[in-house]
């Protein structure tokens, strides 16, 4: 099992994501440079947080044109596992691998803090180690995390059980107060139709060690490791 972490100019959680795989999951992992279409035979692609190409124009808008993303699209279409975190989620929506868009936070400011997420589905490669309704404490750190999609897409996401996480209170209630950025229906993470691509704004890479305040995010990586091991 081999993981690949994409590196765009401006990625800044690439080392953090790499570190979780190498030091905590103890799995092989490599960096994948943005201007190559060679995915080096990895079994899973991680699109890390940061500011790819400076996020100028619009978050993820330039990254979608990079050579590596053309390869990632083909990889995902063939059923390859792709996890996009934060800027990675933004890049996946811009690339068309996930529906909807991430707009400027409702409060118009960057927000970095611990939030709570309710697990909405366990039927995925990323959530198989979780229980439905399980509340995770995972931090966010973004300016554009306000998820939006049209009514038809929302209906599809809901009916196909593709909403992975919603922002919630520590007790698991989905309330307006628990929504940090104005996301539609408190959506924090969604799956693609094939359930092999997950995009999420909160950072499991920043919550995989107790030392850093929470190890809840580790369950997402461990689900991936489990899925790959049994594939």
């Amino acid at each position: 099992m081999k993981f690949g972490v994409l590196v765009f100019p401006g990625s800044n959680c690439d080392h953090d994501t790499y570190n979780v795989i190498s030091e905590i999951a103890h799995q092989p992992v490599t960096f994948l440079w943005h201007d190559s279409e060679d995915l080096q035979n990895v079994d899973a692609v991680l699109v890390p947080g940061g500011f790819a190409y400076g996020d100028y124009l619009r978050t993820g808008a330039i990254a979608r044109f990079s050579p590596v993303m053309q390869a990632v699209k083909r990889f995902a279409d063939a059923g390859g596992i792709v996890l996009g975190i934060c800027n990675g989620f933004q890049i996946l929506t811009e690339s068309g691998l996930l529906p909807g868009a991430l707009m400027r936070n409702a409060g118009l400011k960057y927000i970095c803090k611990q939030v709570h997420l309710r697990t909405e589905t366990t039927n995925s490669l990323f959530t198989n180690q979780l229980t439905k309704g399980e509340v995770l404490q995972i931090p966010i750190g973004h300016m554009e995390g306000n998820y939006y999609c049209d009514a038809e897409t929302l209906h599809q996401l809901e009916s196909e059980d593709r909403i992975a996480f919603r922002y919630c209170t520590p007790k698991g209630e989905i309330t307006r107060e628990a929504n940090p950025n104005g996301s539609l229906e408190n959506i924090a993470g969604i799956l693609n139709a094939g359930r092999n691509v997950l995009g999420m704004m909160p950072h499991p890479d920043r919550s995989s060690e107790k030392l850093l305040g929470s190890a809840d995010g580790w369950k997402i990586f461990s689900s991936m490791v489990n899925a790959l091991a049994t594939r």
Binding site: G10, N12, C13, F51, G54, C112, P139, G141
Partner: protein, 826 residues
């Protein structure tokens, strides 16, 4: 001067076909525009042996500016301690470096960006962060954390004229968004720092940015040119006309119309900086880089002459090769531009390509612009024509040094409280209401609104982020697995205390910054300082500066935290009004096992709360001190005299009323300022030996895992310390205040004595804590317990503060944001 001729001809004149730079038409107006005095101009004539060209005049103007030359402060800065077994690099380089063990070193420094942040808050603050980050990674260190010490004018409506308050709001918004925008994109966690408000910062905010990075101890790079014939390479952003004369602007007082200097403020591009970081660190790994320095203040001028001077060589540069953003720039503009995100490096001849390839990979400009020459001269050509030819040392080591007149400083503040304050002190008070008022005050209230805009967690090393005492970072790859080493860091300054007593106030700044570090369990090992003062041409300002430096020197020596670098920012005056003297200290400490870091907040209910404070030296020598101190049950303490009587009835006739030390110190407290609306007295006394013992004691308590939390008594005294400890986890406390501290119960609740901390601990650990405390000459009293959802504080069984933690927290948490959003509706 070592290599330049003492007078007469330039050495270049001996060369064939030598054509000296075209002399400028020097008029008094031209010199005034360049902030060069007639005496300084005479020195330039002597150094060059001829009339300078306009470009040369510009070069001297920025290099001899206060900002670059430290000409007013240099003679005083020499008194600072700069050495210890841990110091690898002291002042004089881009940043100081200390050995943190296991083959790692850390580079850190603090720098001001005050003037630009007033003129254009967002970009001024952003480029302040950018500049300090380059200072760190130019030494080969990857930035691990940043913090900021911010000071603004009042933001609460009614505290100053509406237009000033509105302007302060926009400065706060702009500065915070600038810091956030730059650091977040760059990818370095911000651990907070401090955000303070005083009327003197309206029109002159302070933005002091601190950064710290990690480097392998044998892979440090220096800003030193070497190797005659080696290529000089320019990398990073293109040069534009932005920021010309920024350093000179930062060395003047603000007058009406200073906003017109906006083009002097640079514009930052954090994405470019991120690429520059990665490319520089990767290029350094090739082994082909000899020396490297960032282009910050005074841009290409500063980097070329400083690198040459440090290496005793000269840099010969052709400006046609400098990547330019605008057309038609002349040599003066190119040399003085402060365009951001640029570096200058010297590579090994023959290995240029290895370096250039790395920068090409990251999509950055990297161009050979010159060559290292044997003579220690800065030679600049433009279109092949020599436009500057200056001995390096005349710009750096031999820059003017002023022994400015040092006058007297005495704050125009009474030592004793005013009659009104006396009355207020002796009247019965509602302490809970007073506490609410303090919690809602600008300085005490939560700074969540500020630090939630910062990425505090990127790089996955943040063990303690903003909001506690010191920030704590894990150092990956050190120590034992899952028990890595840690670095703690804190910024502190108390400008009101420095205003009342610059020396003592500065000592407190060192002590408190080091204490915040020690409270996390770390051993404070080194410091950096940012000295923000007014106009040094005024003798009373020099008196403040000189006294503050004395205080820092004394405290840093006693606490074994040498100064490894920093920055001086003078001329912080607007329309003739100076700021409070504001030395800001950054202290760094080491934790051998980061999992033992102690938080500031109560962790669980049912634990004991202990107060630790130094046994007064006056009681020595006392053989009993070596015996573990056993506090009396609270009920057995005798009742002290509580009343502070109005002066006319205080003492019998014939004896001059002697104001107690506690009363004098109370006048410098947040309580006096916020609740009584009055300032008097002097800062609290500080015993540096006791402070050092406290830091040692806190380290032992953390190492032995005896305490669950630790916090010092600072702004708002024990009442605020207890409330803040309760907020994070909503764990309340019931406390009987230790009467031995008090002359007046008010002091016991709101005074801010130095070297005094509260810790929470398991009941089983109390006796060992008390034994260790007494061995460190500290009193320790069990004053209460954690638990419940209320804060209950009583004195002699009388409840004086009683409130729900949630209610107090609401007051504290919402104050800053509501003040900022409080617009004038008229």
């Amino acid at each position: 001067m070592t290599t330049a001729p003492s007078s007469g001809q330039s050495t270049g004149a001996n060369e064939e076909n030598y054509v000296a730079p075209t002399p400028a038409t020097v008029t008094p107006e031209l010199l005034a525009q360049h902030s060069i005095t007639p005496d300084e101009y005479e020195r330039i004539l002597t150094a060059l042996g001829r009339v300078p060209s306009l470009t040369e005049l510009g070069i001297y103007s920025v290099m001899w500016s206060e900002h670059c030359s430290y000409k007013s402060s240099k003679v005083h800065l020499k008194r600072l301690p700069t050495k210890s077994g841990r110091v690898v690099q002291g002042p004089g380089e881009n940043a100081g470096i200390i050995d943190v063990g296991d083959g790692w070193a850390c580079a850190f420094k603090i720098e001001s960006h005050n003037h630009p942040s007033y003129i254009e808050p967002h970009q001024g603050a952003a480029t302040g962060v950018g500049g300090i980050l380059r200072d760190i990674f130019t030494m080969g260190a990857r930035p691990l954390a940043v913090m900021d010490s911010l000071r603004f004018g009042p933001i609460q409506r009614g505290s100053q004229a509406d237009d000033l308050v509105s302007k302060n709001h926009s400065i706060v918004e702009g500065v915070v968004s600038g810091i956030a925008g730059y650091g977040n994109c760059f990818g370095v966690p911000n651990l907070g720092g401090e955000t303070k408000f005083e009327p003197c910062y309206s029109g002159n905010p302070l933005v002091n940015a601190f950064a710290l990075g990690l480097v392998k101890i044998d892979e440090i790079f220096y800003g030193k040119a070497a190797g005659v014939g080696n290529p000089v390479i320019y990398v990073g952003a293109k040069t534009g006309r932005d920021g010309i004369h920024g350093a000179t602007m930062a060395s003047e007082e603000f007058k009406e119309g200073s906003e017109q200097k906006r083009p002097n403020v640079q514009v930052g591009d954090p994405f470019m900086e991120k690429l520059l970081l990665e490319a520089c660190l990767e290029a350094m790994k090739t082994g082909a880089i000899v020396g490297i320095q960032d282009m910050g203040a005074a841009g290409l001028t500063c980097s070329t002459c400083e690198m040459g001077a440090r290496g005793g060589v000269g840099l010969d540069v052709e400006l046609d090769n400098v990547p330019q953003r605008e057309t038609g720039m002349n040599s003066y503009e190119i040399m003085l531009s402060e365009s951001q995100e640029r570096m200058l490096l010297v590579a090994e001849k023959g290995r240029e390509k290895e370096v250039l390839d790395v920068f090409a990979k990251w999509g950055l400009d990297a161009v050979i612009v010159g060559t290292v020459k044997p003579e220690s001269r800065l030679r600049i050509r433009h279109h092949g024509v020599l436009v500057a030819d200056i001995p390096n040392e005349s710009l750096t080591d031999d820059a003017p040094i002023y022994h400015r007149p040092v006058g007297e400083w005495s704050a125009p503040v009474l030592v004793e409280p005013s009659d009104d304050a006396q009355v207020a002190l002796s009247e019965p008070r509602n302490y809970t209401a007073d506490l609410r008022k303090l919690l809602a005050s600008a300085n005490v209230s939560s700074k969540r609104w500020v630090h939630e805009q910062y990425d505090t967690m990127v790089q996955t090393n943040t063990v303690q982020g903003p909001g506690g005492e010191g920030g704590v970072m894990r150092i990956k790859g050190t120590g034992m697995p899952r028990h890595e080493r840690g670095l703690a860091m804190a910024l502190d300054g108390n400008s009101l205390w420095c205003y009342l007593d610059p020396k003592l106030g500065a000592m407190h700044a060192v002590a408190e910054a080091a204490r915040k570090v020690a409270l996390t369990g770390a051993t404070p090992v080194a410091a950096t300082n940012c000295l923000n003062f007014g106009n040094p041409e005024k003798p009373e300002i020099m008196a403040q500066l000189s006294a503050a430096i004395d205080g820092i020197a004394e405290a840093c020596t006693a606490l074994k935290t040498p100064i490894t670098g920093g920055n001086v920012s003078l001329y912080n005056e607007t329309r003739g009004e100076g700021i409070y003297p504001t030395p800001v200290l950054g202290v760094v400490g080491i934790l051998d096992d980061v999992t033992k870091a102690v938080p500031a907040d109560f962790q669980r209910s049912g634990e004991a709360i202990l107060l630790l404070w130094p046994i007064p030296r006056a009681e020595e020598p006392n053989p009993d001190l070596k015996v573990p101190f056993e506090p009396l049950p609270i009920s057995q303490y005798p009742l002290p005299a509580l009343e502070v009587k109005p002066r006319d009835e205080a003492e019998p006739e014939g004896t001059e009323a002697e104001t107690s030390a506690d009363l004098i110190a109370f006048g410098s407290s947040e309580f006096a300022k916020v609740v009584l609306g009055s300032i008097w007295g002097r800062p609290p006394a500080l015993d540096l030996a006791a402070e050092a013992e406290l830091h040692n004691l806190l380290g032992i308590l953390a190492h032995k895992k005896l305490i669950s939390s630790a916090r010092d008594l600072s702004d708002g005294g024990i009442a605020v310390a207890l409330a803040e400890s309760a907020f994070s986890h909503g764990i309340g406390a019931t406390v009987e205040q230790e009467p031995a501290l008090m002359a007046n119960p008010l002091f016991g609740v709101f005074a801010e004595p130095a070297s005094t901390v509260i810790v929470s601990a398991k009941q089983a650990n109390i006796s060992e804590i008390q034994k260790l405390a007494s061995e460190s000459n500290y009193f320790s009293a069990r004053i209460g317990a954690t638990g419940g959802d209320r804060l209950e504080l009583s004195i002699y069984g009388d409840p004086v503060i009683s409130a729900s933690v949630a209610e107090l927290k609401e007051v504290w948490a919402s104050a800053l944001e509501s003040a900022l959003h409080d617009e004038v509706t008229a």
